[in-house]
């Protein structure tokens, strides 16, 4: 294989590359947060009016630890009753699986093309 000589990259172009990467990185985390799609929020489905440790489902031993931590039943209400919702759709699950497989397929395929060039130049053909 003929030896490949890469072009020299100017400073401005290097700077643009870095800016692109930073924007993509920050966007990947913050866009779901800004759009309110971050998920994993817990919610209280059935609030308890005038809560006591008993109505919150706490045994005396559990209630004693909460009191040692400085909580009253009112203050601990949301902390104790909030739950995750693990229901999901099969479509969403299949979509996620497809996205992951597509991703690995893409990088393995492109990597193999690039790798053959590397080996050909390094070891000669």
């Amino acid at each position: 294989m003929a030896h490949y000589t890469p072009p020299k990259q100017g400073r401005a172009s290097q700077l643009i590359d870095v800016i692109v990467l930073v924007i993509l990185t920050v966007g990947a985390l913050f866009v779901p947060l800004w759009l309110g799609l971050a998920g994993a929020a817990k919610s209280v489905e059935t609030p308890v009016a005038n809560p006591t440790w008993e109505t919150l489902g706490q045994t005396p031993a559990q209630a004693a630890q909460y009191e040692a931590l400085g909580y009253t039943p009112e203050a601990a209400h949301d902390l104790i009753l909030a739950r995750f919702d693990y229901s999901f759709s099969i479509t969403a699950l299949l979509t996620m699986i497809a996205v992951i497989l597509l991703y690995y397929f893409l990088i393995l395929r492109f990597s193999e093309v690039e790798y053959r060039e590397v080996i050909a130049e390094k070891f000669g053909e």
Partner: protein, 478 residues
């Protein structure tokens, strides 16, 4: 066979010894242990308890052990490959030599983001700790944590800038302190030395598995946090005196240390703190070991675990800066990123430009995102990296069978660890999907976009054959 022997001190295939070609080679096995455990041990001090919230205390214990199996596989696989690919960049350099440039670029980004997000999470926890200490000292108003977060990141970046030996020696001391603090807390509260305060049965009563079996799967998401970062030992490959000995020894000793620390942490925290409080790392227990000490009634334990938590966060953030900057540096040196990042400091011999560049990135996340989201971002990057490892070792053994390259360490039972690791990664992807599916898709979308960017634009600036730097024979099948 080549004329290179990774186990030799004079012909191990590294840059010329005693020259100024690469990074300074000054580290021993204890530093490797300190780097690995130092990054991870903070996972026992904060973050793992989100697993309790996802599935209850028993689910968190099961996740702890299954994640332990996952990381044992990671440590075994990593030890073999790294004892052969002794160069800065760790898994990035492995991928470059074994799978190909685009995979390497992705793995390099996994490393940088996993460690930078972990660093941000550490800084958030340190800021929280300062606010608790201020409150305990009688300060009435809510303390602004942001100056402390900035200070922690800036101080550790400066330490990394000045030199790797001082950085990791500092880590060795504070990591040992944080580990001993966990042992002392266990001995003091479990009844072995003094009165026991554990009440697992009473605290679990009626809440054994609050979400049922799906809660166990969901807990795997944060189960990774007990050990996330142990694979960072490979980043020191170019700076250890004897890579074939120090890297496997330090890494495997590290995972054993963490398995013990993780189990003890679960035991003492779940035996004292109610699961709903323990499992909420934002509104409940941000620092569970510290909270456990607070309920022990011992002022000495409160101070010990307070300093333990602070030291664990500092050690972790310190190691993260070390690892993320090495990965970024290695990609710059290969022109995968602008070559400007591939510079070594003329006096301190550290990748100083990469260290400085990653400071504002860490600050953006530490100051702008909630703890669980930052942790999730770190875990997702780590998880993508762990999924790469089974592919990596299978291809490594296929392209360079055992007789073709001498390894410093050969992991046993191949391919069982690779298959086990791949299976557990699949389970963890599902766990992340339960609640954080949007982040997962957003993150993979990000990696797809940057992969296309790399393949169709950035790769033109990369030398082809010259990036293959290991003195290995031609791979089989090419």
């Amino acid at each position: 066979m080549t004329d290179v022997d990774i186990t030799s001190k004079t012909m191990d295939g590294m840059g010329p010894h005693g020259t100024k070609v690469g990074l300074l080679r000054v580290l021993g096995p204890a530093h490797v242990w300190a780097l690995g455990v130092g990054i991870v041990l903070v996972g026992e001090y904060m973050g793992w308890n989100f697993a309790v919230g996802k599935g209850g205390a028993y689910a968190a214990l099961i996740a702890c052990w299954f994640a332990g199996i996952l990381y044992t596989c990671v440590a075994m696989i990593d030890s073999e490959v790294t004892s052969t690919v002794a160069s800065a960049g760790g898994q990035y350099t492995q991928a470059k030599h074994i799978i190909g440039p685009l995979m390497a670029f992705n793995v390099g980004l996994y490393l940088v983001f996993a460690y930078t997000m972990l660093e941000a999470a550490n800084a958030i926890t340190a800021g929280y700790l300062f606010s608790v200490v201020a409150s305990m000292a009688g300060y009435q108003a809510p303390l602004d944590q942001r100056p402390f977060i900035i200070l922690v990141i800036m101080f550790l970046a400066w330490l990394n800038y000045r030199g790797v030996l001082a950085t990791l020696t500092f880590n060795l001391v504070i990591t040992a302190f944080a580990f001993i603090a966990i042992l002392v807390l266990f001995l003091a509260t479990s009844g072995i030395a003094g009165g026991g305060i554990m009440q697992h049965a009473a605290l679990f009563e009626g809440h054994e598995l609050p979400y049922g079996w799906i809660g166990i799967l969901a807990a795997m998401h944060f189960g990774l946090w007990y050990y996330l970062g142990i694979e960072g030992t490979t980043q020191a490959a170019e700076e250890v005196r004897s890579p074939a000995r120090a890297l496997p020894f330090g890494t495997l000793a590290g995972i054993m240390t963490l398995l013990i620390a993780a189990t003890l942490t679960w035991y003492v925290s779940s035996g004292v703190l109610p699961w709903e409080y323990l499992g909420d790392g934002v509104n409940g227990s941000v620092a569970p070991l510290f909270d456990t000490a607070r309920l022990s009634g011992s002022t000495a334990l409160v101070w010990l675990l307070g300093f333990g938590t602070l030291f664990a966060t500092l050690a972790s953030a310190n190691g993260c800066i070390n690892d993320a900057s090495r990965a970024w540096f290695a990609m710059g040196r290969d022109k995968y990123l602008p070559g400007w990042f591939g510079a070594v400091h003329p006096k301190y011999r550290t990748p100083y430009r990469s260290i400085v560049f990653l400071v504002p990135i860490a600050l953006i996340f530490a100051l702008g995102a909630p703890l669980d989201q930052v942790i999730t971002f770190s875990i997702l990057s780590g998880l993508l990296g762990y999924t790469f490892m089974p592919l990596n070792i299978i291809l490594f053994r296929r392209k360079w069978p055992l007789h073709s390259i001498k390894r410093g360490y050969e992991h046993p039972f191949h391919p069982v660890p690779a298959i086990t690791l791949l299976t557990l990664c699949g389970v963890t992807f599902f766990a992340v999907f339960l609640g954080y599916g949007t982040q997962l898709v957003a993150m993979i979308g990000f990696y797809i976009v940057v992969s296309l960017w790399f393949h169709f634009w950035r790769y033109r600036f990369v030398n082809r054959g010259a990036q293959f730097t290991m003195p290995w024979p031609k791979p089989l099948g090419y």
